[in-house]
Amino acid sequence: MEARMDLSPPGDLIAALVFPGVLGIFGFLVVAIWLERKLVARVQWRYGPLYVSKPLGGFLQPVADLLKLVFSELVLPRHTNRLLFAAAPILLFFAEGLPVVFIAAAPGVVMAPHPYGLAIAVVLVLLVAVLVVAMAWTEADKFTYIGAVREILLTAAYEVPLLLSALSMFLLYGTADPYGVVEAQSAVWGAILNPLAFAVYLVALLMATTRFPFEIPEAEPEVVVGPYTEYGSTLFIYAFGANYVKLYVLSLLGAVLFLGGWLPAAGILGVFATLAKMGVFLLPAMLVRAIYPRYRIDQALRIGWGKLLALSIAAALWSIAAAWIW
């Protein structure tokens, strides 16, 4: 472990506070909401949010929304356990952010380096998914019940392909260490080494963050907002923000596993390289909102357990063959 201390303690402090930690997550929330609304609006030939800060292109609109939400009335329904009702989204928000503890954004910028760090991060992402269902259950509402059932069905469908895709990359690199994974990609990126796993990861990312075309638990014409229906002011920020934090975590994981992490930059500038590569995952995830309609739940499950699972098994076999040959 001593050999891994490239930077003195500020290394993991930067990771905890700036990127990919606190400032990274909250900055991402503000930027991602604005970027998504603006991008989708431009695809649809309209302007997007432009009223709040027109010289900045409406950039402060999410900040204005967050401020308004904080000051609006917090409603705690009488017919549920109020402590759990209030605690569930807060717990969900911070639990969704847990996997970043193990992911490295640059050499030395990681909070808890561990030989199996990335594997732990993937498992944490999968385990935390069930907290959304717990949150929906505390709301005691028929819409959230439907949303929760759809969410858990979708989770079961994407879990195995996501895990297999990550596992096939670990097999190919021979390590799950946050530094080793990036160093093993110094010649060729993981997306080119195993494109099947990359494709599976992209689709599993869309399923995991319930983006179109898999926006089934939050389908607005059917269930009001799905699992987040009953939440009001600050709790809504936590509940809905948890969805964006999951997107952040999965994009970061994808950038490190498939796109070569902080290469070719070295040292602290690797942070910017990782950020740019996260954008490769973020931009399609936002554009699909304007492109695809929504699948039915049975169509999405058929994809998850059929084609996606077959593709992920093929990706794992490809990795085994490639690791055997080289």
């Binding site: 991008l39 695809v43 030939w45 309209r46 302007y47 399609p284 554009l287 492109i291």
Partner: protein, 132 residues
């Protein structure tokens, strides 16, 4: 598979095209010169034939006795649908449309008496961005 790539290509191409929407109220659309907007009456040409009252499908026009001893039309703007039948029916052309259809009222009293329907009464509310 190729369909998905075409979808993304269309979306990216559309990002770089100009938006079609209008940033109301800073910009307004130009609807042309013959737009059927607010209705005004030029009392010097009006002959009080009451054809406009007879033809109005919403029964929005009523006639009143004015100060000079003749009757002129007044329009109830809670009923008027800007269809333009009265303007078409008017034989002298005293009833006219103004070019603007964005009509704003600040109270529920929406009846325009004949003396308020002169062509220069179609003015913006002061201090706002409204047009009539």
């Amino acid at each position: 598979m190729i369909v998905h790539i075409k979808l993304f290509a269309t979306a990216v191409r559309q990002i770089f095209q100009r938006p079609l929407t209008v940033r109301w109220p800073e910009e307004r659309r130009d609807y042309g010169d013959r737009f059927r907007g607010f209705i005004v009456n030029d009392r010097s040409k009006c002959i009080s034939c009451q054809l406009c009252e007879a033809v109005c499908p919403a029964k929005a026009i009523k006639f009143h006795l004015e100060a000079d001893g003749r009757r002129y039309p007044g329009i109830d703007w809670g009923r008027c649908i800007l269809c333009g039948y009265c303007v078409d029916a008017c034989p002298t052309g005293s009833l006219r449309h103004v070019n603007n259809g964005e009509i704003v009222w600040t109270s529920l009293d929406v009846y325009r008496r004949p003396s308020e329907m002169d062509p220069d009464d179609a003015a913006p509310l002061p201090g706002t961005k409204s047009l009539i």
